[in-house]
């Protein structure tokens, strides 16, 4: 394909970018941050080692952001994702401890781990279903319903574990510490698969399009014969399922599950979703945005860490950088929207 072709016959991707100003800005931000950091720290930033390291840092938040995005597309939100991940993780870890003895033969280990993963995923689906029923059938506001279940799931977790961490006997650490082709961390691979699968669901299925339509105008969706409660329940179930996938990554990384692990991930995931251009009022948002947003945030926080290694308190710069980037992108978006609104 020649340059002429690209200009006169834009491909689907370039058309998408042109149409969605937010994606363009995110893409530019990503490239700029990457280039800047590479120029400032050429010896350490643009290296395979650093890619391996960065690639293993963001998958959990990335998947949680996708989970929250799904709820946000319908005009809702799911605050319970991290507590679902923790409780599903605890259930899976307890199962591993119960069925796999220390000297178990490989077959038992494999079946046991498979069972543990199924238990994690099934419990994630169940907790998502409870969220969905509260929102769609009982009619609670999503923010209140999932705030409630967040506390509920955490509470159940404390009761089951008496507040202690549950160890997974090193059975799942291969997920956290293995690299495919010695390059791609398994969690990154899982993130890529989840992103691709959700992208197909959102763009190529009736269910996905219904999520957008409900978020755009719930009443019109109802009047168009869309089964709104059923679709909403589906959204929260999917969100719970993704949280359970995160639970498995948590287990792989920490070799344990605990009721109060990573509570700050909820807000960070919301931040990623908003930065990705997902409209919190519903109706718009893309997986491509999530991917670009999480990459931009990862580049900026790793880069700043490297720059400020010598400065005391430099590690706290991650939060600062994320906040600053979010505000900058939002302000730019606001002004460009306003300019577009005027013409």
């Amino acid at each position: 394909m020649t340059v002429q072709d690209v200009l006169t016959r834009p491909t689907q991707w370039t058309r998408l970018l042109i149409r969605d100003g937010n994606l363009v800005r995110l893409f530019i931000a990503c490239v700029l941050i990457f280039v800047t950091m590479s120029l400032l720290r050429p010896a350490v930033f643009p290296t395979i080692e650093n890619f391996r390291s960065m690639g293993s840092q963001f998958p959990e938040i990335g998947i949680l952001a996708i989970a929250i995005m799904i709820a946000m597309l319908t005009g809702g939100i799911d605050l319970s994702v991290v507590s679902i991940a923790n409780l599903s993780g605890v259930l899976a870890a307890l199962f591993i401890r119960a069925v796999i003895p220390a000297d178990a033969p490989p077959v038992v280990v494999a079946l046991g781990l498979l069972g543990a993963i199924v238990i994690a995923l099934a419990s994630g689906v169940l907790f998502g279903l409870i969220n969905g029923l509260l929102v769609a059938r009982v009619g609670l506001t999503p923010i209140l319903a999932t705030l409630g279940t967040m506390t509920l799931y955490t509470g159940i977790n404390v009761v089951i574990t008496r507040g202690n961490a549950v160890f997974a006997e090193n059975r799942l650490v291969f997920i956290g510490n293995t690299y495919l082709f010695d390059l791609i961390p398994i969690p990154l691979l899982i993130f890529a698969i989840v992103a691709a699968a959700v992208s197909v669901i959102l763009n190529k299925t009736g269910f996905g399009l219904k999520l957008y339509l409900i978020g755009s105008n719930e009443k019109a969706a109802r009047f168009s014969g869309i089964d709104v409660p059923k679709t909403l329940i589906g959204a929260y179930v999917l969100s719970g399922l993704l949280a359970a996938i995160v639970a498995i990554i948590f287990l792989g990384r920490n070799n344990s599950a605990k009721w109060d692990f990573a509570p700050s991930y909820v807000l960070q995931a919301i931040l990623v979703a908003v930065l990705a251009g997902v409209n919190p009022a519903g109706g718009s948002g893309r997986i491509a945005g999530i991917v670009l947003a999480i990459l931009a945030l990862q580049f900026i926080s790793t880069g700043l860490n490297m720059l400020l290694l010598a400065v005391s308190g430099g590690q706290f710069f991650r939060e600062f950088a994320w906040g600053a980037l979010l505000l900058i992108i939002m302000v730019i978006n606001y002004y460009s929207e306003r300019r577009r609104g005027r013409t």
Partner: protein, 497 residues
């Protein structure tokens, strides 16, 4: 002769090469009701914005109260007493009627403390001027649209308005409310205040105007005394063509069993003992004032607010309609009254809107949508209903009112319903598109669809229906064959108590 309050001379305005207004002149005298008439896109809104100081003209003179204004800003326009009542009224729904009427006045006085007694006194005085009485303590969000309009007018008067511009004031009102509004406007006029009444409804213009300015494509076509105009002249001036609509005649088989039969349908507090039938290919009008139960009846047939008792039969078989899904399963479709809040996904693409109803039918074997069939359906309906858009991937909000309504219609037609209920099918649609929509509806009926049109637009019913039912206080009180009826008869029956 007295000095005009406002005079615009040779105003022109272009947006990026597109001429919105060209050489438009307008003179408004105090105590005069001047109607501004034109189709959507004719330049009416731009003209209003120029008078309100929101948009600056490229050339032309603006003289207010004998003073020439070089540049008019919104603050200047308000200071001169120009008040615009937009379609959404710009009221505060969470505040009371009295607060809405009086608070902007209080704010303009730069008072630090609110004197509640004064607020009530101001509001009462304003209502007395136009001879209406509203509950001062009711929240504006809770009062009917017609009352909101009155609140907006009172607020304008409190601001010492000299010219009130009303933009499509009657869109959401029934015939009776419109008449009450006209009384109020005449009271306003007697107080020496000028009114610029913007509308595309010809009957209203004829009923209230002292003068009418008709614009088309940004140019003045006529500026005349309203007495010199009539309906057909105005249509011609607005559209540049004579619109002759043919009447609709039902050519179905009178022996065939009815498509839809409704027997003794009752919904407590909404309507009672409603019975009628609809045959294949018929266009049945249901009319009545707001609150007559016409919309509630439609919502019951569509399963939104199911009826309490009575029977609905489709093609002779009794069916139970307890939900929208039930109605759809029985081949009933519904194009809602308020297309913006109930019909359209404004931010989503036209393509998305067109398939919203039929997503479940457009699957290939698995859960995935069949991209080819989706595409075929979209192109087919854009073509069949002549939806004017360069690209169906554009958001639905990019379309004009008439085209938006076509999208909602197409969304339903794609699901091949047997009965289609249209509630106010041409509300807010300009004259040209309106007759095109009527032709589409007639063509569909010709293909065997059973159509119910719910409307209080009498000319519309007369042009499209072959039979008309009149509802009053939740009951069907009369039934007319179109051919035995004149427009005047129907209007008379509609408002008779």
């Amino acid at each position: 002769m007295q000095q005009p309050f406002l005079s615009l001379t040779n105003i022109s305005k272009a947006y990026g090469g597109v001429k919105a207004l060209e050489d438009v002149s307008l003179t408004v005298y105090p105590g005069e009701i001047h109607c501004l008439v034109g189709e959507n896109g004719s330049g009416k809104s731009t003209l209003i914005k120029i008078i309100a100081g929101v948009v600056q003209p490229d050339s032309g003179r603006i003289v207010i109260n004998g003073k020439e204004r070089q540049s008019l800003r919104p603050m200047d326009a308000i200071a001169e007493g120009i008040e615009v009542i937009y379609q959404d009224f710009s009221l505060f729904p969470n505040l009371s009627v009295a607060e809405n009427i009086a608070l902007s006045h209080e704010l303009a006085q730069r008072k630090r403390w609110v004197n509640w007694r004064e607020v009530r006194a101001i509001a009462t005085e304003a209502m007395r001027k136009v001879n209406v009485s509203l509950d001062l303590d009711a929240l504006v969000g809770d009062v009917p649209v017609a009352d909101k309009q009155l609140v907006a007018i009172c607020r304008a008067l409190v601001q010492n308005a000299r010219l009130i511009i009303m933009d499509e004031a009657t869109t959401a009102l029934t015939e009776r409310e419109i008449r009450a509004l006209f009384d109020v406007i005449n009271n306003v006029k007697r107080g020496g205040v000028a009114v610029l009444f913007v509308s595309h409804k010809l009957d209203e213009v004829l009923a209230i105007a002292d003068k009418a300015l008709i614009i088309r494509n940004g140019r003045v076509v006529v500026d005349a005394d309203a007495r010199e105009l009539d309906r057909s002249k105005m249509t011609y001036y607005m559209t540049g063509r004579d619109i002759e609509e043919s009447m609709f005649e039902w050519r179905g088989d009178p022996e065939a069993p009815p498509l839809l039969e409704v027997r003794h349908l009752t919904s407590r507090g909404n309507f009672s003992d409603v019975s009628f039938e609809l045959r294949s290919g018929e266009i049945l009008g249901i009319t009545g004032l707001l609150g007559s139960g016409r919309t509630e009846l439609a919502l019951a047939l569509f399963g939104v607010q199911p009826a309490d008792s009575g029977e609905i039969r489709i093609a002779g078989k009794p069916v139970s309609i307890r939900s929208i899904q039930d109605a759809i399963a029985n081949g009933i479709g519904y194009v809602p009254e308020d297309r913006l809040t109930e019909g359209l996904f404004l931010e989503r693409s036209i393509a998305n809107n067109l398939v919203a109803r039929t997503l479940d039918n457009l699957r290939s074997k698995g859960p995935l949508l069949d991209a080819d069939r989706v595409k075929t359906q979209i192109t087919e309906w854009v073509r069949r209903l002549s939806i004017k858009t360069p690209n169906p991937e554009l958001p639905a909000k990019s379309l004009s009112g008439g085209n938006q309504q076509r999208v909602v219609l197409a969304k339903w037609l794609a699901s091949k319903p047997r009965v289609l209920i249209l509630n106010g099918p041409t509300v807010g649609v300009d004259v040209g598109s309106k007759s095109e929509l009527h032709e589409i509806i007639k063509r569909l009926a010709g293909e065997g669809l059973g159509v119910i049109i719910i409307s209080d637009d009498i000319p519309e019913l007369m042009q499209t229906c072959n039979r008309i039912l009149l509802m009053r206080r939740g009951r069907i009180v009369e039934q007319f064959e179109r051919k035995d009826l004149t427009e005047a008869d129907l209007t008379h029956h509609l408002v008779a108590v």
